[in-house]
Symmetry: D3
Subunit: 223 residues, 6 copies
């Protein structure tokens, strides 16, 4: 506790932006269905789709001192990602901190705890994925750490990993695999276009995805 790692590696911005364009569900599939945060992480407003480098914060329950410390470490394109050291729903973050983060190029916040001033944040278009919306305030009395490995909403996140977030939730892509995952995600997308057209035309997915033989083999009975 009480450590701020100042220099972390980040993925290339082109890769990060490519992952944002693919979206959470596709990226999650493309990396073998790993890295997803828990389903309770919900966006404070609909329609945002972002990706960025994780600037991680490990914070004590009900204490947002480290958020202030973390904002100083932000680089343009980063996403703040906060994991409390024990379960907490307090509102660690509001419009003042968002103003500061946005001024420094931060793309959003992922927080396994609460957020407040959500009307202001929505108007500012500062996207947040959180466990709760809660006006409960925090103190500034106990140290945590910045840019250390954390577990956030059930997913292991290292500083500099790529975080992708949209209406479906949040996924973490390990930094060193980001380029490869992007490639796989884009391949999935290319492949889906043709299938979507066939399905829209009324073809049955059992045919489009060639599922009939295995169903028969598994013993499905039509009565």
């Amino acid at each position: 506790m009480g450590v701020v790692v100042q220099n972390i590696e980040r993925a290339e911005m082109a890769v990060i932006d490519g992952l944002a364009a693919c979206g959470v569900a596709t990226v999650h599939e493309a990396q073998g269905r790993t890295g997803l945060l828990a389903s309770y992480m919900r966006p404070i407003y609909r329609g945002a789709r972002i990706a960025g480098s994780a600037l991680t914060i490990s914070a004590p329950p009900g204490d947002n001192w480290m958020v202030h410390v973390a904002i100083e470490q932000l680089k343009a394109g980063d996403i703040l990602l906060l994991a409390p050291t024990s379960p907490c729903e307090d509102g660690y973050f509001g419009d003042l901190l968002a103003t500061s983060a946005q001024a420094r190029g931060c793309r959003g916040l992922v927080i396994d705890a609460g957020v407040r001033d959500v009307r202001d944040l929505t108007e500012m278009r500062f996207p947040v994925w959180s466990k709760a919306i809660f006006a409960q305030g925090t103190v500034k009395n106990t140290l945590g750490s910045v840019n250390v490995p954390v577990v956030c909403a059930g997913a292991a996140v290292n500083p500099g990993d790529v975080i992708v977030a949209d209406d479906d939730g949040v996924v973490c892509v390990p930094r060193e695999k980001a380029a490869e995952v992007l490639k796989a995600a884009q391949a999935r997308e290319a492949n889906e276009g043709d299938k979507r057209a066939r399905l829209a035309a009324g073809e049955i997915s059992l045919d489009v995805f060639s599922l009939r033989d295995r169903l028969h083999e598994a013993g499905l009975r039509y009565v």
Copy 2:
């Protein structure tokens, strides 16, 4: 497990559409406050109000093979209704399946589990009521059944029952009672118009609904 019932009876379309027009709260009252799914079943977007015949899916946790099977059985006006065989939040359904279902006349999905690609589903206006929004993918390895009786979010549903869903939640009307419930629901609505006008004019509901005598009898004290 492993059965697809191909021919099920459905209610008349006029009855189904009539029930949609009444909405969930009224229909639920009209059938004696039964058949409601649990309150955790929430729409992915607000404003949809639909009814349709239940095409039921009993699926293993984390396995959406049977959804593909079910879509082939869809008739125009149906609603897909999925109950997992044990509690699950995985995203069984996304934009490809929605494209296929919509192409075949499906009016929506009710799923006691998760859904993904909700931004696309919202743009397509394919309504879904679900327990979770979750990008977590599924496999296609284990059989379930289609058009068998299920318990979905706490309500017993038989194939062909009428499902009504709106912003208040989801209710199941047994197929053989649908016409009678519609009648009762429409009677309730007719009755409410007059009362709403009196209340809007400032009359007290204790008078409008004649509640004063029983309150007195029960011993209510004004101090």
Copy 3:
């Protein structure tokens, strides 16, 4: 049980309206981080920000008889606040009751239980903060009380206390402290304007809020 207190004291309307303008997070801070209702109390639609005098209802589970009784006691500027005597998600309140309450000057409903007809309530702009949206109906068989002290979603509320509610949740301000809390809240707001401008200009909050010395003292290490 079974008591209706008819005359309660209320805060001055100017104070109430001033608190609404400050919003929940600011008011909660201004009164020493007390009085907040639990984070599960969510608005049925976004964007409402209200304050009013609490007209409290203690009701049995699944029984809304007392809501009818309470509406007769409403004065313009009041907020209905319902706490069930045991945990309950039933829909105690719908469009008919909202029509009546709105006609009598009620500003909204805070209910540690369920609400229904939310599409209608949204169209009427009758704001509700609730634990659930649930079409499940209620009966009128068992007495409760009106304008007695209650605990609602974890907060103690006395009749006539000022309730402030917005997208961040709901906070209760004791009536006798309302004027003083308003003053503190307005002072906070005045103070924040300048800080927001400095943060928007890129200054670091560690400087704006003078946090560096205590961090150093606490032993934070930069590596």
Copy 4:
């Protein structure tokens, strides 16, 4: 609502007692992994293993009037099974009702709500599986029904179905399948004895259950 069905069919006592001896996990497997109540249904004390005929109660939230009505309908070997019409944790049942039920040959209670006086019930060895232990009392003001089909903790139960309950939870066996399920359960048990001995001797379950070939086929890699 408001109906008491007095004559229901029950399974043969020998079948019921046979199912009790097999236990919940085995019976659940033997009937194709169906009929299980939700995992939140927990016994108030450990070690009881019972089976009996379901005497079903559909009760309003917070109202135990129908429990009194149901007890009059008990036959020796029955199990009381209560499903509230909306989610509720109130203590519907305590030591007085247990005294009465036990005097009439009732084997236990399964309740998707709360129970109280658990110290007394434990001393009496009157087993209960419930969603909650909660001292919250109930009223006797609103009718429900006895011996109607219900959904209890996610499982559909008809009056006279066989309920099996032990430390693993609660399962419902449809009355008309009870004899057949017992046979299948006993066959499973016979089969397990030999396997248990081989596993206890250190043999690997991959061999005992012949799982290696399919693993290889599915592509499992050892590194």
Copy 5:
């Protein structure tokens, strides 16, 4: 925040001990079904039945500094009752604090948060009712208050109120009503003995409690 009230009034010990003998369910009934803490408050071991004067602690999340402060204020016969200022499951209390509290005559702990070292506490027979068992430690950095009014697990508690706790949960009796509630509770108990005997002899509760007429009136149908 940051206040310790040193002199509080307490109920008479004879009244307190009388309430313990009646138990939670009876006391709760005797005071009109009020004052019960939420059902998630569970004992760390079964069989304890205690009552004592509430020594209240309002503590920040994850910070047990005030517990140390509170223990100095203990008088023999007191119960420590802790409410965090926002929801928290951390283990505020373990065997060292229990040793100290027990040495000073404390009868137990009621905590709307977590506790740890439960094996030791069980061996010491120091009873605890808590929301969680959790080894997560706490800090000593932020002030709270001792002997101020709190809301604990949904119940309003004033310092010096009588807390009664057993296997059924926890109930709070306002100090000034304690003697009167005891009287009502003892009357209930006296009344129950005769009824229990009649029920044990096989009489139907519908007769013992004279419930048949109202059932008939309410329209119950036997079929």
Copy 6:
């Protein structure tokens, strides 16, 4: 997916057994309050206190195929630790698997899902910490992996890490820090003995832990 790592490093047995003797709360403190699994992980019976090397299993929801694979990899002194790839409460493990695991020297199971046959497991003294007790069975159709890094109940666990579990919950100690953490834990224990004696003798913890000065400095007021 679909990988079994056969050779993993483990900590020394003396270190592992030393950590077991210290218990979860002490070990968790000794490693800086990290590595704790969520509070919902509860033992199926009280009184077990174990430590062992983590043999990790990443398994699909509702599929226990990999548990069979993992058991073959067990060495004496290991603990099976299972994390499902999406949230699941199914009973992956029962008495047959426990018989096999115990025969191979396994000390227990930590599973972020369900377990069944708990009566048998209790009699066998095979300890399990789980999220649920649930008779729901699993299939053997989809691959997972063995001995890969997992996140289990909110904690990151690598194969070979030391798992300590007792009535307070479960903590993970990274293998390479195990010896050092043991030393710190034993130092804590040595230190506590003296303090416990002073507290038992009635000394105030504010003195025993020298907390008075900082309280004064922080502004605590006694009134």
